[in-house]
Symmetry: C2
């Protein structure tokens, strides 16, 4: 198969694609090591909203204090070698206000069972994306 | 849709799944920020083998010195809310020996065009995985 070229996506297009899919991968540091976990998300008012349970790794490492994280979303087709990837980098914070947490939390639908009482918001500061084109 | 439970995968099963797919995501630190890039890989003798070009971010941040990275692979089905994810954490190093680099490099088939003269090997130290089950 012919190899593909990388076409950069604009910030607006990258955010549009990020908002159009139901899950991504949160990237953070855990005990000085790089860590990554798939999670479900929604985008509300330009912020990436996740849910997590107390006692999870994301809760311990990300939600406890304001932490810089990367959030990655992609759709890559192993048959056609086409697709795209978007990375948003920004500060993740626990949504502390109970009303706001309730409002945002009910928009996120985790696939994984269990209590997900914490709502985490990532404000993207740097957003990059690329597409594989023939 | 009913929410899923997480079933832990054994290290052997996690490595088997990682080896069975053609791409994943390398997670590292760049200028003190978490960073992630999708890449193609193969697994040879238990090591994850990638290719990169001089001048790329992976080359600058990962291949220049021995660096701890995470490598993530997943197959997640947004329609059925099923799938799995595997994360391997270990030291990435540039394969310096020209003969070994040539032997390993020709096993990796990047989808992206361009010179990919650097061969990077990740030796997994910690391997974890989970599956979403009904």
């Amino acid at each position: 198969m012919n190899r593909r070229n990388l076409k950069e996506l604009s910030e607006a297009e990258s955010l549009r694609r990020l908002a159009a899919v139901p899950f991504g991968r949160i990237v953070f540091t855990r005990q000085a090591l790089p860590a990554i976990r798939p999670v479900n998300h929604v985008v509300v008012d330009g912020q990436i909203i996740l849910r997590s349970g107390a006692g999870t790794i994301i809760s311990a490492e990300v939600a406890t204090w304001d932490t810089v994280v990367a959030y990655e979303v992609d759709e890559l087709d192993a048959d056609r070698h086409l697709g795209w990837s978007v990375v948003a980098t920004g500060v993740a914070r626990l949504v502390a206000d109970p009303g706001e947490a309730a409002r945002l939390g009910e928009l996120v639908h985790p696939w994984v069972a269990g209590a997900m009482e914490q709502v985490i918001s990532i404000r993207p500061e740097i957003v990059t994306g690329f597409e594989l084109v023939p």
